[in-house]
């Protein structure tokens, strides 16, 4: 009898119904944008609308974007309750979009907000926007995915893995970089083309050749309240050094045209010879020739060797460009100081930090490329 009473008590008292919330009461947040205007934070929140897509697509917007303001980001978030009847559910957050205005001066507050909340995961992405307002990007509808937030995070992941010019920054990596205090955080920079109002209109989804879309423009970092952009070569160099590339695309000029190689494996790392004030960048790359329009016959081993060297030189050029960018701006976004701090602490403590004008560290490159595949063809057409 005693046991039955205990079982009954457990059944009725531990059902999890205390303080419960219906799914309909929740506003599922998929992306947020943070900016600052006249000492106040502006928080744009993208909510998913549960709608049914009919045979001819969707007639109402699958997302809603609302905006709140406050002296702190949390206050801005809570002010949204004046406009929405939903309780925000943030565990499904895909990305956070940071405006130029917060990138330059309020990154600490942003990090505090994004890491203090226990409900937030550690794997959502952080992106920046320098050309558009966060609200315009968050309001943009996607032709590829009904959920525009997952569309953008997939664009970032795909372009990182399959192209190489950008990379996906997670909140965990951002926090790591920030707390390390030695490496400038590099953000993917998002922009949109076309008209922002048209992009937020479902009519934009009805045409097949719309010029309005959101895209990853480039990579940026902040130095002394100034946003510095990385061009394509510098971005590739940064990604190679940081081993962010899985299948990068490298195109080189050759006698008669161009050839393109796709990296299959890429492994970069630093080594130091600090007695001689020298850093060595080692790189081992395996590539597949995916497009070949040159006069030299690919079947010849000397030609493949020449091509491999050309690819190595091209990658070396990328890396050199990114180092040059860092030196020109006296900033270390490629992690040289962090490497020295971790591997040669004595040198780190007794010398000037790299990329300062009075540091005379030089770089040596040791990049080796192996062509491991040539696709379907034994030679060339």
């Amino acid at each position: 009898m005693k046991k039955i009473i205990i079982v009954l008590i457990v059944i009725f008292l531990t059902t999890g119904c205390f303080n419960y919330r219906e799914l309909n009461d929740l506003g599922i947040v998929t992306a947020i944008g943070i900016s600052k205007e006249e000492d106040e934070f502006i928080l744009d929140v993208q909510l998913v609308n549960i709608i049914e897509a009919g045979k001819n697509g969707i007639s109402e917007s699958p997302i809603t974007v609302i905006t709140g303001k406050g002296k702190t980001i949390f206050e801005a978030a809570r002010s949204l309750n004046m406009k929405s009847s939903k309780i925000f559910f943030i565990s499904n957050l895909e990305y956070v979009l940071l405006d130029k205005s917060v990138l330059t001066s309020d990154i600490e507050q942003v990090l505090d907000y994004l890491t203090r909340d226990t409900r937030l995961p550690l794997n959502f992405l952080v992106v920046a926007t320098t050309d558009n307002k966060p609200k315009d990007i968050l309001s943009a509808l996607s032709q590829f995915d009904i959920n525009s937030a997952s569309n953008l995070s997939n664009i970032l992941k795909l372009s990182e893995n399959r192209y190489g010019e950008t990379y996906s920054l997670t909140i965990k990596d951002m926090l790591d970089n920030y707390l390390g205090g030695m490496t400038n955080i590099v953000y993917p920079n998002i922009a949109l083309t076309g008209d922002e109002k048209e992009l937020a209109d479902t009519d934009n989804l009805k045409t097949s050749d719309s010029d309005n879309y959101v895209y990853v423009k480039d990579l940026i970092y902040v130095k002394d309240d100034k946003v510095i952009e990385l061009n394509k070569d510098e971005a590739f160099g940064y990604n190679f050094i940081n081993n962010n590339i899985n299948n990068g695309t490298i195109t080189c000029e050759c006698d008669g045209g161009y050839f393109t190689a796709e990296t299959l494996k890429s492994n970069f790392g630093y080594k130091d010879n600090l007695k001689n004030n020298e850093m060595i960048i080692n790189g081992n790359i395996e590539v597949e020739i995916v497009s070949y329009n040159c006069k030299d016959k690919l079947g010849n081993t000397k030609v493949t060797e020449k091509i491999a060297n050309q690819i190595s030189d091209e990658i070396k050029k990328y890396v050199e460009n990114s180092i040059e960018n860092a030196e020109n701006n006296n900033s270390d976004f490629i992690g040289v100081n962090s490497y020295i701090y971790k591997n040669n602490n004595k040198y780190f403590n007794s010398n000037n930090k790299w990329a300062n004008e009075d540091n005379n560290l030089s770089f040596k490159y040791n990049i080796k490329t192996d062509i491991v595949k040539q696709g379907n063809l034994r030679s060339d057409i």
Partner: protein, 366 residues
């Protein structure tokens, strides 16, 4: 106490549950922040220091194998002194169980049930503890067996997944700082191993084939230390020292990195269950141990009187926890009080146990 006997393996499971109880809420956050880049040295030093505590435990455990700790104290000392010593030990263990349970309920309320009233969480978590403390050590052994089986499954799953996220760079620079290493290892050793002494209230002769108990205890300690090392390696290797130092519960936050098949996220809530089980078990077992000690100290044989004492003890326990909850933030922040206070309590207990073991040499065996 009944005549049931437990196996060496069951006793090892009880020990394993006890020595892992303080890690999530107390040891790891402090260790990561204090030892910082010397954390691997702290681990090494702690492993060696652990054998000293284990030695004192075994010394007491092997002495007069048919007696509980309280009976041993009653045997070593004149009655009034024995009563005082027993009361001090019980009081210190009672304080420890309050701190462990307080960390346990603040963990649950801050990470899971942020909007549920604290008293409700406390009452809900305390009720199985009350039920468990009413039972004898054979039930504890069965509970420990179930817990360890579950824990091993979760542990293997979470650690193997997390090992793929480890970056060797996160351990660097490995710097030997004597002060930091000793501070970290001292706290780790004391807070890890001292709950073990509650197991002294299980007489050695209640263990089947007890000639092998010493060996199995040493193996259990080494196994437990390998678990702790794997925890530290995954926390630091995955999060990095700087990020891990930032969080109140780094061993919970590190589990947030796990996602199954790239789309099943938020399984940290499931994986962290083993810490919750260790903490609940230790609270229940320590209260059981205090119950045994009270009954032996004051020769209480009536179940009715004992149950009244248990209820009073439990009410004080709940009352103190509810009183402490509003001061969570203060206690957390104030000079790491959540670690320093338990450290001093356990250190005092350790000194008492060393003295008792020294006295045991003076008294001939009966």
């Amino acid at each position: 106490m009944n005549n049931y006997k437990i196996s060496n393996l069951s006793f090892s499971f009880i020990v394993l549950c006890l020595i892992n109880s303080s890690l999530l809420g107390m040891v790891f956050p402090y260790l990561v922040r204090t030892s910082n880049n010397s954390i691997l040295y702290s681990l090494g030093i702690s492993f060696i220091l652990g054998f000293i505590i284990l030695f004192v435990f075994l010394k007491l455990f092997n002495y007069e194998p048919d007696k509980t700790l309280t009976e041993k104290i009653n045997y070593f000392f004149p009655k009034p002194i024995a009563i005082v010593i027993n009361i001090i030990i019980d009081l210190l263990f009672f304080l420890m169980v309050i701190i462990i349970f307080w960390r346990f309920s603040t963990f649950i309320s801050s990470e899971y049930l942020t909007e549920t009233p604290s008293y409700l969480i406390t009452l809900l978590l305390a009720s199985p503890i009350l039920l468990a403390m009413l039972k004898d050590f054979d039930i504890a052994a069965r509970c420990a067996t179930i817990i360890i089986i579950g824990v091993l499954i979760l542990l293997i799953f979470s650690r193997t997944t997390l090992f793929t996220y480890i970056k060797i760079d996160n351990f660097k620079p490995i710097i030997f700082n004597l002060k930091d290493s000793v501070k970290g290892s001292g706290v780790l050793t004391i807070l890890q191993l001292m709950p073990l002494f509650t197991a002294l209230n299980i007489p050695k002769n209640k263990i089947i084939n007890n000639t092998k108990t010493t060996r199995s205890l040493i193996f259990t300690y080494m196994f437990s230390f390998s678990i702790i090392s794997s925890m530290i390696i995954t926390i630091v290797g995955v999060m990095g020292i700087n990020t891990a130092s930032l969080y109140s519960y780094p061993s919970y936050v590190v589990l947030k990195n796990i996602s199954l098949l790239n789309f099943i996220n938020n399984i940290e809530n499931f994986s962290v269950i083993f810490w919750i089980m260790f903490m609940s078990f230790t609270c229940a077992f320590t209260l059981y141990s205090i119950k045994v000690s009270i009954s032996k100290t004051f020769n209480i044989n009536s179940n009715k009187v004992l149950n009244i004492i248990i209820l009073i003890l439990f009410s004080i326990f709940i009352g103190l926890i509810l009183f402490m909850i509003p001061y969570e933030n203060f206690i957390n922040k104030f000079k790491d009080a959540y670690v320093i206070i338990p450290f001093y309590i356990y250190s005092l207990l350790f000194v008492i146990f060393i003295l008792i073991s020294l006295f045991s040499k003076l008294k001939p065996r009966c």
